[in-house]
C-alpha cells in the first residue's frame, strides 16, 4: 500500500499549536462559535448518527483509496480534507478507540450507564454514580506546581521566564485553546467532569525543560470536586512531569496530553490518596510524529480509583510507552483502562501494568485495548498485565483486548496473568537460603522497583520506594504471615 497516500488522505494535519511551536495559540472567535454551535446541535441523537454515517463513508473511501495504486485518488472517490479551522467537521476523523464508542462534550450524548456495560462491569456502580450526574465542584482541591528542587515554574503570563525555562503553568478558560483540543470526552464521567469543571490548568512545554516539573493536587475534603489539566509539549521539546495526588478527595479529573513531533515527554501520575478518597480520571493522550511519550501511573492508595486513558497518535513513528503499577489495600478498588488507538502508520505502543493486591476485599481491574485501525500499517503493539495476589480474598480482573483492522503490522501481542507468586522465582531465591518470607518480600519489592525506577525523577522514585518498603514491613506480620499459613 502507498504510505504516502495514506498519510495525505487520512492523516489530519497536526494541530496549529504544534506547528507554531512557542507561540501560544488561541482559538479564534469563529472557531469558538462554531464549536458552540456544533455542541448545541438541535438533535444530538441525529448528530451522533450523522457522525457514524460519516465515519462509515470515510472508512469506505479510505479503503477504496488505499486499494488503488495510483498517485492521485480516482475521481469518484471524494476525499474529505481535514480542516484545522473546524476540527469537528468530520467527527469520524477524530480518532476513536472504537467506532461504536461515543465521543462527546455533552453528557446527554451518553446513554444511561448500566452495571453490565463493558465499561462499568468490574466496578460497583454505587461507588461511581456520584460522578455520573452533574455537581457543583467545591474547588477546594489545591493545585500547586514547582520544579523538583522546589524552585518556581513560570506563570503562563510570564513570557520571558517561560521562554528561558521552556515551560509555564497556569489557569486558562475552558473555552481557551488548547483546552478540549485532544479528542473529546470518552465516557459519561468524562463528559460530566468537563461540563462541571471550573478550573482548567495548562502546562505549556515549549522546549527543553531541564528540571522535572511536579504538579501537586492536594485535597482535604470529601465533597465532589473537578479539575482539568492540559499538558502540551511542543515539537522537539523534552520534559519530565509528575502529577502527585494526595489527601482526602472525591475528585473527577480530566487530563489532556499532547506531544509535538520529535518530542520526549516523561509523564507520571501518582495516586497516594487517603483511605476514603475517590478519584475518577480520564486522560486523552495524543503522541506526536516521531515523538516518545513515557507514561507512568502509580496508584498506591485510595478507596476508589478509576483511571481511563485513551491515547492515539498525531503522526507517524510515535512511540507510546505506558507503565503502571497499583498496590491495592483491603477494601479498596483500583481500575486502570489503557485504550490505545493506533491510527497512524509506523507507530509503537508498549503497555505494561502490574498490580499487587494486599489483602481481603482488595479489588483491581485492568482493561487494555489495542485498536489497530486500517490507517495504521507497520504498527507494533504489546500489552501486558500481571497481578500478584498477596493474600487470598483479593480479586484481580485482567482483560487484554486486541482489535486488529490492519493486516500489515509488525506485531500485536498481549499477555495477562493473575497469580500468587512466581514459584520459580521464589524457589530460586529460597534455594539460596533466603526464607520464604524474605523471598516474597524481595519479589514484591522487585515487582514495584522495576517500574518505579523508570519514572526517571529521582526524588519521586525514592519517596515511592520508601512508601512500598513501609507497607511491606507493615504487611509482613499481617499479609505475609497469612500467606505462609495459607500455603
Amino acid at each position: 500500500m502507498s504510505e504516502k497516500e495514506m498519510n495525505t488522505t487520512s492523516t489530519p494535519d497536526s494541530d496549529g499549536f504544534r506547528r507554531s511551536g512557542t507561540t501560544k495559540p488561541v482559538e479564534t472567535a469563529e472557531q469558538k462559535a462554531r464549536r458552540a454551535q456544533v455542541q448545541a446541535n438541535a438533535s444530538e441523537a441525529q448528530r451522533i448518527e450523522n457522525a457514524r454515517q460519516k465515519d462509515r463513508e470515510l472508512k469506505n473511501e479510505q479503503s477504496a483509496s488505499t486499494a488503488s495504486e495510483g498517485q492521485s485518488a480516482p475521481a469518484e472517490v471524494r476525499m474529505p480534507r481535514y480542516d484545522p479551522k473546524d476540527p469537528y467537521k468530520f467527527p469520524a476523523q477524530m480518532p476513536s478507540s472504537a467506532d461504536s464508542m461515543i465521543r462527546s462534550f455533552d453528557p446527554a450524548d451518553f446513554p444511561q450507564p448500566k452495571a453490565k456495560d463493558n465499561e462499568w462491569r468490574y466496578l460497583d456502580m454505587d461507588e461511581i454514580s456520584e460522578f455520573m450526574q452533574p455537581f457543583t465542584p467545591t474547588n477546594l482541591a489545591q493545585v500547586s506546581v514547582s520544579f523538583e528542587d522546589g524552585s518556581a515554574v513560570p506563570q503562563l503570563s510570564d513570557k520571558q521566564t517561560s521562554r528561558e525555562l521552556g515551560v509555564s503553568f497556569g489557569q486558562i478558560s475552558k473555552n481557551e485553546y488548547p483546552a478540549g483540543s485532544v479528542s473529546k470526552p470518552v465516557d459519561l464521567t468524562a463528559a460530566i467532569q468537563w461540563q462541571v469543571t471550573q478550573r482548567v490548568y495548562w502546562l505549556n512545554i515549549t522546549s527543553n525543560v531541564e528540571k522535572p516539573v511536579i504538579i501537586r493536587v492536594h485535597s482535604n475534603n470529601a465533597e465532589r470536586d473537578a479539575l482539568h489539566f492540559v499538558i502540551t509539549a511542543a515539537a522537539n521539546s523534552h520534559a519530565s512531569v509528575v502529577v502527585m495526588h494526595d489527601g482526602l478527595a472525591h475528585l473527577a479529573e480530566g487530563m489532556e496530553i499532547s506531544t509535538g513531533a520529535d518530542s520526549t515527554l516523561n509523564f507520571t501520575s501518582v495516586q497516594q490518596w487517603d483511605e476514603a478518597s475517590k478519584h475518577v480520571g480520564t486522560e486523552r493522550i495524543r503522541v506526536g510524529a516521531n515523538a516518545e511519550l513515557r507514561h507512568r501511573v502509580v496508584t498506591l492508595s485510595g478507596n476508589f480509583v478509576r483511571l481511563r486513558m485513551d491515547p492515539d497518535y498525531a503522526g507517524k513513528k510515535g512511540f507510546l510507552d505506558m507503565l503502571g503499577i497499583y498496590y491495592v489495600l483491603p477494601g479498596d478498588y483500583a481500575e486502570h483502562r489503557t485504550m490505545v488507538c493506533h491510527n497512524q502508520a509506523d507507530c509503537k505502543s508498549r503497555v505494561i501494568y502490574k498490580g499487587a493486591l494486599d489483602g481481603k476485599g482488595a479489588r483491581s481491574a485492568w482493561v487494555g485495548n489495542a485498536l489497530i485501525l486500517p490507517t495504521a500499517p507497520n504498527t507494533d503493539s504489546y500489552e501486558l498485565n500481571r497481578n500478584l495476589v498477596l493474600k487470598p480474598g483479593a480479586i484481580a480482573d485482567s482483560e487484554p483486548q486486541l482489535e486488529i483492522e490492519n493486516g500489515d503490522i509488525i506485531g500485536a501481542g498481549h499477555a495477562s496473568s493473575v497469580g500468587r507468586f512466581e514459584d520459580e522465582q521464589l524457589f530460586y531465591l529460597e534455594s539460596r537460603g533466603v526464607s520464604e518470607e524474605n523471598a516474597r518480600k524481595l519479589v514484591v519489592r522487585g515487582f514495584f522497583e522495576e517500574l518505579i525506577n523508570q519514572i526517571g525523577v529521582e526524588s519521586v522514585q525514592t519517596a515511592l520506594m520508601q512508601r512500598i518498603e513501609e507497607r511491606l514491613a507493615k504487611g509482613e506480620s499481617a499479609a505475609m504471615t497469612q500467606v505462609l499459613e495459607d500455603k
Binding site: 522465582q425 524457589f427 534455594s431 539460596r432 537460603g433 533466603v434 524474605n438
Partner: protein, 268 residues
C-alpha cells in the same frame, strides 16, 4: 569468616537412598526418578552423565526441594539429617547448593541485595559491609565478571555464560558443603568454560565441598577432574566407574543406555 566457616579436616556425607520422585503433568502423574542411590563425601567429584531427558535435572531439583517434584520414596541424608523433610531454604542453610541449568531471572531484585540477603541468612549473621564488598569484588574478579553485574537484577538480561558465572559466584559466596552443578558447562564457549571451571576448582580448594557434576558432555571433565563417573539413564544410575568411563562414553555415546531403537540424536 571464610577462614572459620570450613575446617579442612571437616568431613561431610551426602547419602541418597532409593530416591523416587515424579511430577504431575496434564496427562497425569509421571514417574521420573526410579530409585536413585549415591553417596558423596567431602572433597569428591562425582560426574553424572546421561542422555537428555533421563532425569538428571529432576534429581538436582528434587534434592534442592523444588515444589514441582513430589518425592515418592527414599531418603536423602546430609550428615544423617533428612533433607527431604526440609524446606528449600533450610536445605541451603544445611549446606546444599544447586547451580541450576536454567538460572531464574528475578526482575527488580538486585544481585547485591540478593547475595547479601542470602549470605546473611545462610551464615546466620550479616557480614560486615567492608568485608562483604571486598569478598564480592574479589570473587567477581576471579570470574571476570563486570562489576556492573552487582547492580543489575538477578540474572535479568544476562547471557547464558553470564548466568553460569553468577551461579558459580553464589557457590563461592555461600560456601556449601555439597554442590550440585546441573549442566553448568552447557552454552559456554571455551574461554568461559575455563574461567567457570577454575572458579569451581578454587571454591572447592578453599571450601572442600563435595561435587555432583551433572553433564551431558565430557568437555568440562578436562577442567574439573572427576573421582567417579556415573551413567544415569531412565531415572536411575545404570553404571559407575572411574574417570576412564567418561572417555568410553565420549567414544560410544549414550545409545546403549537408551531403549531399543532410540538414539540420542533422534531424541534431541
Amino acid at each position: 569468616m571464610a577462614e572459620v566457616a570450613t575446617n579442612v579436616s571437616e568431613q561431610h556425607t551426602l547419602e541418597i537412598r532409593g530416591l523416587r520422585a515424579g511430577v504431575q503433568t496434564k496427562e497425569g502423574r509421571k514417574e521420573i526418578l526410579k530409585g536413585v542411590d549415591l553417596t558423596i563425601h567431602t572433597g569428591e567429584v562425582h560426574a553424572i552423565m546421561g542422555p537428555n531427558g533421563s532425569g538428571k535435572s529432576t534429581l538436582a531439583y528434587t534434592l534442592a526441594g523444588h515444589p514441582k517434584y513430589e518425592v515418592d520414596g527414599g531418603e536423602v541424608l546430609l550428615d544423617g539429617q533428612d533433607l527431604l523433610k526440609m524446606k528449600p531454604y533450610e536445605r541451603a542453610r544445611a549446606g546444599l547448593f544447586l547451580a541450576m541449568q536454567y538460572p531464574v531471572e528475578v526482575p527488580g531484585v538486585s544481585m547485591t541485595n540478593f547475595l547479601r540477603t542470602a549470605v546473611t541468612e545462610v551464615q546466620g549473621s550479616a557480614p560486615s559491609l567492608r568485608q562483604w564488598v571486598e569478598e564480592l569484588s574479589t570473587e567477581m574478579k576471579r570470574l571476570r565478571m563486570d562489576p556492573k553485574f552487582a547492580q543489575r537484577s538477578v540474572n535479568e538480561g544476562f547471557s547464558g555464560g553470564e548466568k553460569k558465572r553468577a551461579e558459580v559466584l553464589q557457590m563461592e559466596l555461600l560456601k556449601p558443603k555439597f554442590t550440585i552443578m546441573d549442566e553448568t558447562d552447557s552454552g559456554l564457549d571455551v574461554d568461559a568454560l575455563r574461567i567457570v571451571s577454575e572458579g569451581v576448582n578454587h571454591a572447592k580448594d578453599v571450601n572442600h565441598f563435595g561435587v555432583m557434576l551433572i553433564t551431558h558432555y565430557t568437555r568440562i571433565l578436562r577442567y574439573i577432574h572427576p573421582d567417579f563417573v556415573h551413567v544415569f539413564a531412565d531415572g536411575h544410575f545404570v553404571r559407575a566407574g572411574g574417570p576412564e568411563l567418561a572417555d568410553e562414553l565420549e567414544e560410544s555415546g549414550y545409545d546403549q543406555y537408551l531403549p531399543e531403537g532410540v538414539s540420542e540424536s533422534a531424541q534431541a
